[in-house]
Subunit: 341 residues, 2 copies
DNA sequence: GCCCCTTTGATGTGCGCCCCTCTTTCCGAA
DNA sequence: TTCGGAAAGAGGGGCGCACATCAAAGGGGC
């Protein structure tokens, strides 16, 4: 049996090809009754437009843009690299992908960058901020017909089509569970280092972490959060201070970047083996120390998956194609020494 | 700038469209010197054929076949379901996917089923067996021009194009690490239940598990392997026996299916909270007991990912298209209560 | 110089759909 | 009855490539 084509639809609907085309592409000038007939024929035949013929005929390229935080940590660099790789793969599918950098913490700058994309692109993937201007900029883009997905960090009450990233509260809970079980029944203090309490994902991770520590591990006491600004040096300072002030520190959770600082502090203190250290994001560095044993577990979100997923979602939106939710859900990966890739 | 097309290549190579076509599709009757010229033009222009135009013009459907074990456990059922879902998604990309069932343990039957596919399909994904007949059947298929990928379970020395599945030795090591750390320093026995020691993946998991337990956890003693035949009842018997014979049992690792049996035995013994239980494969059942706490961790391979990856690899092979290794690597997922989807 | 064979060119058709233009038909209002 | 606009039909060109056919040009052997 050959494919069912527009011809077949036209025939069974008893109309001409032109009319079917008008219906399919929502062109005006078709009687409601006729529209109905055509749609019935489509349903009856189970007609699905040939993606290849459609894209070929339409001849238009899709133009997407990724807006990423500038000059930042290993994870973001990995993400950008994966975006570029993905761009390479979809280039021969008539998809062009651009990348812009914007300062992470500057909501206004991010909003401005987004506004500047109006009219120039079909879709945008943005590492967002929970900031009113950003939300408004996203909503403006959506209103102007641009598809927007948020990446890694969401803009909760905006009209973005999808959020491509993990549930950070659950990530925090996961870290706590692992840490709690890895300390093996010992009692003591647990330290948490965040990048900045202005970052929504860091806050959420902290909340999840707190929840589980206080509920499930009565022997552990969570110390007040320290801010490390995602910077190795600063993180090392606060980690060293934590280690010095608390001889009974049994666990450390670094919510953000700057794992190098923690490793350095642990090494300097000579307590790397005694303190359970849970980190985020699998990088060459964290991978190395996971294997060495300084880091006990890494909570990860796969930047390659995120880049591809965002791209797929943007394409699907353009083509009004269905989405495989299972494929697009970003997992909270747990890596220990034995299952790192 | 518009796409570079065959026209452009022909022009810069100084030959006709027909000749470029001959080179591209490896048709005979072109002088080596000319081939060279054309390929240079292609390289120079960075020409890449338009996937959509190609597929449309070729007009041929790809026909793939999945050969799965029959009447079996929840994981295999999930895998099959995901294969069917994937089939639905790629149906409008001119890809037809068929599914056949074969008895898992019967190498000859599997080999026969594979032989029967010759000439009927372009590609095959098979849950293989490490059996000489199977290996030969795979090699025959490959020799006859059919692309073969193995799925979940490999046929190591065959000529299959890819193996879509996890490293089972690493999975075993991962289970051991988690179990060892979760027992929190207690000393005692550890039990391992496998489906059958004839299954390669089960053996590999066992080997990995043994390695890590003996190397990293001197306080733990691994008991001799028990076979549960992936069947709830039988698994319950052996688990109950283990629990009864060893009051100091602190951990259980179920390498195969039949988690229901272990849960039942643990519940009956009243030691569900004391014995750390590591299982394989996230199913509705294991998910429930992970949340309840009977199961402490689940090692998983994502059947949806495997179905999609196998399909993508088969398509890529047909189109001689590049492969994104990062996308196709199947991860060893670790799920604990807090990061289950 | 003739013939044959290899190499190349020229050209056409079709894949399934989009998009545009130009009729033709039909229905209701004036 | 006439007229106008809405609804529908008809047709064509094009997207970039695959595939087939036929003709022309080139080169070597005799």
């Amino acid at each position: 049996m050959a494919r069912t084509t527009l011809q077949d639809v036209a025939k069974t609907a008893g109309v001409s090809l032109a009319t079917v085309d008008r219906v399919l592409n929502r062109r005006p000038g078709v009687h409601a009754r006729t529209v109905e007939r055509v749609q019935q024929a489509i349903a009856q035949l189970g007609y699905r437009p040939d993606r290849f013929a459609t894209r070929l005929a339409r001849g238009r390229d899709y133009h997407f843009h990724f807006v990423l935080p500038s000059g930042s940590n290993a994870f973001m660099q990995a993400l950008e690299e994966r975006v570029r790789v993905t761009a390479g793969y979809v280039a021969d599918e008539r998809v062009r992908i651009g990348v812009t950098h914007v300062d992470v913490f500057d909501g206004e700058a991010l909003a401005a960058a987004l506004e500047g994309l109006q009219g120039a692109v079909d879709g945008v993937a943005v590492v967002a901020l929970d900031h009113p201007s950003v939300r408004e900029a996203i909503d403006d883009l959506v209103a102007s017909g641009v598809t927007v997905v948020t990446l890694v960090s969401d803009a909760p009450r905006s009209r973005r089509a999808h959020y491509v990233g993990i549930d950070n509260t659950a990530a925090g809970r996961t870290a706590a569970s692992l840490l709690g079980r890895f300390v093996a029944g010992r009692k003591g203090k647990v330290g948490l280092v965040a990048g900045s309490m202005a970052l929504r994902d860091h806050i959420e991770r902290q909340i999840g972490f707190e929840q589980v520590i206080s509920r499930d591990f009565p022997g552990l006491t969570l110390l007040p959060v320290r801010e490390g600004r995602d910077d190795d040096e600063r993180v090392e300072e606060v980690a060293s201070a934590l280690l010095a002030e608390h001889p009974d520190l049994v666990g450390l959770y670094n919510v953000g970047a700057g794992n190098g600082g923690i490793v350095a502090a642990l090494d300097a203190s000579g307590r790397a083996r005694d303190v359970v250290f849970i980190a985020h994001e699998l990088t060459p560095f964290s991978r190395r120390h996971l294997i060495r044993g300084t880091i006990d577990a890494v909570i990860n979100q796969d930047p390659g998956h995120e880049a591809r997923s965002a791209t797929r979602l943007l394409i699907a939106e353009q083509e009004k194609a269905p989405i495989d939710a299972g494929q697009e859900r970003i997992r909270i990966d747990i890596f220990i020494r034995d299952n790192v890739p």
